[in-house]
């Protein structure tokens, strides 16, 4: 076989091959990147979770809004483990992932709003009043309040010009507010639970 003949057809097919290979391997691209990624609802505390998650993809598979992402381009500790990037797509609290998890890395939770409010803690809300349109006077937005599954509890509007106030103890951290926030660098962020703010189970 002669390798020296690089005519147009061969160059084009090589380029096409490279292109399709990189498209296949590029991994997921999130629409809007977030500084931090969250674990799906019902996740064991950090450490216990990694020990129990066999990276089987079943949670992502059953997730109706497809908010659970698996990124293989991460260090081995986190590669291909489930993450939610709320700025990209937030959790709708359906609890389907907790029903299929084969190892209990995501503990099973019934689909009852009251129970979910008590048990689920994916992260805690952090509102930047500088960036929030209602607070900095650039707008009259209360999308975060409108989309919140626990509105008037986790998010309340107050004042004659309604401004959102977040109440971390009542917030489950689903991130629907972060997804809805129209500011490019979202004014409301759901931060992952650090060791200190770990929810009591």
């Amino acid at each position: 076989m002669k390798w020296g003949k690089w005519d147009r057809r061969r160059v084009l097919s090589a380029v096409l091959g490279l292109f399709s290979f990189s498209a296949l391997t590029a991994g997921l691209r999130v629409r809007r990147a977030s500084a931090e990624w969250l674990r799906p609802p019902g996740a064991l505390p950090p450490g216990d979770f990694e020990a129990a998650c066999i990276r089987c993809f079943r949670c992502a598979e059953v997730c109706p809004p497809q908010c659970i992402r698996f990124d293989a381009w991460l260090p081995p500790a986190e590669a291909d483990t489930p993450f939610v990037v709320p700025a990209d797509r937030a959790c709708t609290l359906c609890m389907a992932c907790t029903e299929v998890c084969p190892t209990g890395a995501l503990g099973r939770i019934e689909r009852q709003p009251d129970l979910i409010a008590l048990v689920v803690k994916m992260g805690h809300p952090e509102l930047s009043k500088d960036r929030c349109l209602a607070w900095n006077g650039k707008g009259n937005c209360h999308l975060c309040h409108d989309v919140c599954p626990y509105r008037n509890q986790a998010v309340t509007l107050s004042g004659d010009r309604p401004r959102p106030e977040f109440h971390p103890s009542l917030c489950v951290g689903c991130g629907l507010c972060e997804e809805a926030c129209p500011v490019d660098d979202q004014a409301i962020r759901i931060r992952p639970l650090s060791e200190k703010t770990k929810a009591p189970s």
Binding site: M1, I54, E99
Partner: protein, 276 residues
């Protein structure tokens, strides 16, 4: 189990068409609702109408991380029982990587026709025990389930899911692509034969298996077709078979004189060579 990814494809298409949000509980009307998706998972972990199956390697990894649940043991029981009985059949019949091995074998013969040199490095199959041990040790030390990153059925399961849901396979495709190149240029079915951690588990479990390829000597013409077709360097022609035999049946199919058969040994009733 091989059909499960296909079911998901249908499920996903049905979903995006807005048919229903939970197709397998709502779509298949006649079946009782389980309150959860009735079919999910790839070979690594399967949920099928309430039955939970787990790869024995996944169970070993979970135990290596020093925690315990009866459901992990129970999930592995069907696979263990089947492998103890049928031998290393998983590798030949269920594992999706078998398709990649087939492709790399086809590439090998194509390259041979084109006159491109390929190698067939024979790494000792026992190397896989080392890989298994290293992965379990790494799991125990780091507390992370790392085996699933280097086990083709798990990788392919995730990669397929990612292609269906997100349109891209990610690093899993690079891993499988690298294994394909290794199998094609360096060693025939080399990963399965010498490095696969799950294969090592099945290799151990298949030792007592009573299902074996048996040669009916009078019919054998010593043509060697069976030895050539085997991916795992088994030699049915000279009756040299070990626990690496994956009971794929290619040697049985290729034999021109029907001298080979997959036979259930034991009970003392079947003589070697008797057809089942």
């Amino acid at each position: 189990m091989l059909l499960v990814p296909l079911l998901h494809l249908i499920q996903n298409v049905a979903d995006s068409a807005g048919v229903t949000t939970s197709p397998w509980t709502g779509w298949v009307r006649g079946l009782p609702s389980l309150g959860r998706p009735a079919a999910s998972g790839a070979p690594w972990s399967v949920g099928l109408y309430g039955l939970e199956l787990l790869d024995p390697l996944a169970t070993l990894g979970l135990l290596a991380a020093r925690s315990f649940s009866w459901s992990w043991l129970l999930g592995a029981v069907p696979a263990v029982v089947l492998v103890v009985f049928l031998g290393r059949y998983f590798c030949g019949w269920i594992c999706p990587y078998a398709l990649v091995v087939g492709a790399s074998n086809a590439a090998r013969s194509l390259l041979a026709k084109l006159g491109v040199r390929t190698y067939d490095l024979k790494v000792p199959p026992a190397t896989a025990y080392g890989v298994l041990l290293i992965l379990l040790l790494a799991t125990a030390v780091t507390g992370q389930q790392v085996a699933s990153l280097f086990y083709p059925p798990a990788v392919i399961g995730r990669a397929l899911g990612k292609v269906i849901l997100f349109g891209s396979a990610g690093a899993g495709a690079v891993f499988i692509g690298a294994l394909f190149l290794f199998d094609t240029f360096v060693s025939r079915a080399g990963f399965c034969r010498s490095f696969c951690p799950g294969g090592a588990v099945f290799r151990l479990l298949s030792i007592p298996s009573p299902v074996k390829v048996v040669r009916h000597a009078p019919a054998c013409t010593n043509c060697g077709a069976c030895d050539v077709v085997c991916n795992f360097a088994q030699s049915p022609m000279t009756d040299r078979l070990d626990q690496d035999c994956e009971r794929c049946g290619k040697c049985v199919a290729v034999c021109p004189t029907d001298a080979l058969g997959l036979v259930l040994i034991g009970g003392g009733k079947k003589s070697p060579g008797a057809r089942t």
